[in-house]
Amino acid sequence: MPTTKENIGNLLDALYLEMLDLIEQQTVCRVNIERLMNNGQLMLAKTRYIQGSQTICSAQLPTENSNTFSALCEVVQQQNDTKISNVEFTSIRHTVDKEKEFVEPMQWFTSLPPSSLRSASELFKKCLDFVLESANIQRELIAVMKHIETLKRHKEITI
């Protein structure tokens, strides 16, 4: 913890600059998420046009009464000392294996998925990468804000 008022001020300046940078990164990330989601939803609409409107709807989604299944895409938290928050999310993807309850989601909608549905699936998979990036930036932003508040309190005590 810095002791002099000048050191605290310099550190606060650096943290505010870092915060601005993170806000910019977050905005870029959200734009990418929005772009990929829009493209994915367009592909879903195309699938509905080809296969009929009832092919892709929430009625096809599994419910509490369906068989249990596990997520193909999961996240793990890893230690990263280069980050202010010290941790970051990384994703892990499991291969489809019915015995281990890893099922292919496209099979809920149709047994022969058209190319537009495959494209939609790929776009949402790419979107998940940006979601993880956005979650990491958000976590960093929260850590920076916490540091700023701590330093402000420390500055008041030092003065």
């Binding site: 606060l12 505010y16 915060m19 601005l20 993170l22 806000i23 977050q26 905005t27 959200r30 998420i33 929005e34 989601m37 994915g40 939803q41 879903l44 892709i56 709807c57 929430s58 989604l61 599994p62 419910t63 509490e64 369906s66 068989n67 249990t68 299944f69 997520a71 193909l72 895409c73 999961e74 996240v75 793990v76 938290q77 928050s85 994703s91 892990i92 993807r93 499991h94 989601p105 496209m106 809920w108 549905l117 939609a120 699936s121 776009l123 949402f124 998979k125 979107c127 998940l128 990468d129 979601v131 993880l132 956005s134 979650a135 958000q138 976590r139 932003l141 929260i142 850590a143 804000m145």
Partner: protein, 142 residues
């Protein structure tokens, strides 16, 4: 993205039909042994209390690390989202088909902006105060 045999934690989704279908196609969906899904489809007839209960349930679950929620759904339960300050599970507000993303409504970005604006205002007031003091030195008036 790594291919793994170990189990990680889940990404949950609260949103409209297309958002849920899309992310489930991406592979985030799960129905666990207790038959609890990690997603909720919200339509115009879904009561706000149900969205709020689902969000609180997802926050309490220790197998969920990220909650994705459509920004228009997040607006319905803004008080609950603002009260959630813990970094895990991370709550991410995402756009929906009918409602584009608005950064000014995002809980975390709004907090960051307020903190930054506060710092700028304090710095400006201090600068004006010191230059004001410099302009009117009490010794000059004597």
């Amino acid at each position: 993205m790594a291919l793994h045999s170990a189990r990680g934690k889940l990404i949950s989704v609260i949103g409209d039909e297309d958002t849920c279908v899309g992310f489930l196609l991406g592979g985030v969906g799960e129905i666990n042994k207790n038959r609890h899904p990690n997603f909720m489809v919200v339509d115009k007839n879904t009561p706000v209390s149900e969205v709020e209960d689902c969000f609180r349930r997802f926050v309490k679950r220790d197998d969920i690390d990220i909650i994705l929620i459509n920004q228009n759904c997040a607006e319905l339960i803004r008080h609950v989202i603002d009260a959630h300050t813990s970094p895990v599970p991370a709550v991410l507000e995402i756009p929906s088909k009918d409602h584009p993303y608005d950064a000014s409504k995002d809980s975390i970005l709004r907090r960051a902006r307020v903190s930054f604006l506060k710092a700028i205002v304090i710095s400006l007031v201090c600068n004006i105060w010191f230059s004001f003091q410099g302009m009117f030195n009490p010794e000059d008036l004597v």
